[in-house]
Symmetry: C2
Subunit: 396 residues, 2 copies
């Protein structure tokens, strides 16, 4: 768990969240500048900080990421946009750089204006406490949380062809869209490899597609989802190419999958992480659509909650995904037990499968389609009474 070179971190309490003692701001600084890329929510009501970051990435020279939790600065109109700009300006002033070298992320309640006095104080406090230790990194990873049970971090080391090791470190937050009005998914990935802005962007986009874009809790796309990548280049003389770039991309995808799976695993009220693997499709888009449709079925989720190998719910969800396939070539395994084979029910011991579902945190659904070679994986949480209580009892 070594951190990549070139970064400093701080996590502080600014007083944005009501709960006393909870950290609610994070600052990540790369004093010598980093290549940066971002992937953002597709929601039309994207929040002000998303609008800011879209303008600033990809970039060859980003110095800081400033994050607040407890307020999403979404659906806040013109004033919200000014507030996001002011967050970037204040952070830039503290770091002695230009505002467009600062990226901004916000997460928390929707439709409420940011308390800018607290935000300004938080930025100053965070800048004053920057450090490069693992503890500093952990504080930052705590400053971005909302309803998460704990911080979500992941690390990788990649050996390049010349024997150099570059490092990747990442943090994320999100437990479903279950916050005060709506929590959101935020993530930051840092590396000390050098990358061109174009490579940084494509590596991040590819990694996010198989990780953060392949998870759900209830399928409600937030207004603030943002994943950022910063590459300090401290460990490599020049941007990675060829085999080295490929190795970094593999490690980046792997890291993002590890981190992304923590989100539905920590989904509000979740008692199971559900992995859905769809194989044998014509395209990965088809496979993804089928996996996503199964993942978002409340009937599939509640079946897993109850440890019930209710295969009719899984196959019928596949059947309404909008992808054409031959049902007589389709099969289903639950936790590696064949349940439905080539369009026909299979006799199986329900008590054994049910027991494996009940006694494991993870339930695996594997659907084989007979149309091609493409594969997709998707992760979601089950749907429990606690999820409903949490989201029904909360009052804005």
């Amino acid at each position: 768990m070594e951190l990549p070179d070139g970064f400093q971190f701080a996590g502080v309490r600014a007083g944005i969240k009501e709960t006393p003692g909870k950290l609610d701001m994070a600052l990540i600084v790369c004093p010598d500048g980093a290549t940066a890329a971002g992937v953002y929510t597709q929601n039309l009501f994207f929040a002000a900080p998303v609008r800011w970051d879209r303008r600033c990435t990809p970039s060859e020279n980003v110095v800081a990421i400033i994050v607040n939790s407890g307020n999403a600065n979404a659906c806040t109109g013109h004033r919200g946009w000014q507030d996001a700009e002011r967050m970037a300006e204040a952070t830039a002033a503290a770091c002695g750089v230009q505002p467009n070298q600062v990226l901004v992320m916000s997460t928390g309640v929707i439709g409420v204006f940011l308390p800018m006095t607290q935000v300004d104080e938080g930025i100053a406090k965070a800048h004053a406490t920057l450090g490069a230790t693992l503890d500093d990194f952990r504080h930052a990873s705590e400053g971005i949380l909302t309803t998460d049970k704990g911080s979500k971090t992941a690390f990788r080391s990649v050996e390049l062809t010349n024997g150099t090791h570059v490092r990747l470190a990442a943090m994320a937050k999100g437990a479903g869209m279950i916050g005060p009005s709506m929590a959101t998914l935020l993530g930051v990935v840092l590396t000390d490899a050098a990358l061109t802005p174009g490579d940084a962007q494509s590596a991040l986009t590819d990694a996010v597609n198989v990780s953060f874009n392949s998870i759900s809790v209830e399928g409600h796309t937030s207004t603030n989802d943002t994943i950022l990548l910063m590459a300090s280049g401290k460990k490599t003389a020049s941007p990675l190419v060829g085999e080295d770039l490929a190795r970094l991309k593999t490690a980046l995808s792997d890291l993002c999958i590890e981190l992304a799976k923590m989100i539905p695993d920590d989904g509000e009220g979740a008692t199971h992480l559900i992995e859905i693997e769809v194989t044998g499709c014509r395209t990965t888009v088809d496979a993804d659509r089928i996996a996503r449709t199964i993942a978002n079925s409340a009937l599939v989720k509640t079946a897993v909650t109850g440890g019930d190998p209710n295969w009719g719910r899984v196959m019928s969800a596949a059947g309404y995904a909008g992808i054409e396939f031959d049902v007589l070539q389709s099969s289903l395994w639950i936790n590696d037990t064949l349940i439905f084979s080539q369009g026909n029910p299979v006799e199986f011991d329900e008590s054994v499968v049910s027991c494996s579902m009940k006694s494991n945190r993870e339930t695996k659904l594997r659907i084989q389609i007979g149309e091609g070679e493409a594969v997709a994986r998707f992760w979601t949480s089950d749907l429990t009474v606690d999820y409903v209580n949490f989201n029904a009892d909360y009052c804005t």
Copy 2:
């Protein structure tokens, strides 16, 4: 509540359902033959009876509809198809007509073969008890139920331009896809007007689009959804045309909306019926997509469960529906209170709106988009702890 002329009904217990005393078969007969049309599930795993009915409709000469509840005859392969055929043949033999003059509907558990001995006995019993009273109609409407709290029926009378009154009577079942493995939506509409097969089909398709295709409980499309229309023609010398056809179509849509709304209102565990009206779109397809996306958000549903006017959840759901619109031209009313206006939050008395949500069975969400004139309405149930318990606790 007069029944249309030309029909006979029976509802009996054949022993397909385990619960003693529950009716589980229904028979509707139009001895002199009726024009018939059908609208069916789009699920690839459509059940055997759906396959049968698709082949037989639209038609000028359907004599009977045979229905069983307690078993969906879905995902049952070749044997399931034979069983559906045999249901049609046995009913045709009892009525003295050809099998392709009989339509079949099944609803209940998925992936289990029909108990054909009971089905055969049920057909004989139903045929022996046919009658044309309102009680007979009610028995039939009970024979098609699964997890519904009670039977769902609706009636209309339409005055034609010559002063004749034609009647419409309809029954439906469905309480979400919440049955043993999956319940389904079935409906039958009967009229004594005469219709050509083409007009019957287009009238039914139009009516279903604004009614049964505009409701959801959890959005999981079943394998068995079927709505059938039978027109006996007993009250009109020739098929309706012009203004008379238009009047019938209006009454048919109105009737179907009344009946369709009963389904999410009776959604498993539902404490609220949610009506979503989206106005000002470029096309009805756009409006429908936005309404449907809001309806299927677990966060919107749980907000209504809790009586929480959580407008951020509603607008952000509209924002990920995949329809382009100007967010600065969009507004939201909850139970007629303006909450979000032209892209900006409005100050409103939360306690008043929350109280109106808590004290009424129905919550209305109205979203105005500034792109055109098209409108869509959609109805769904809220998401409650009882829904989760019902679907998690059930074991196949």
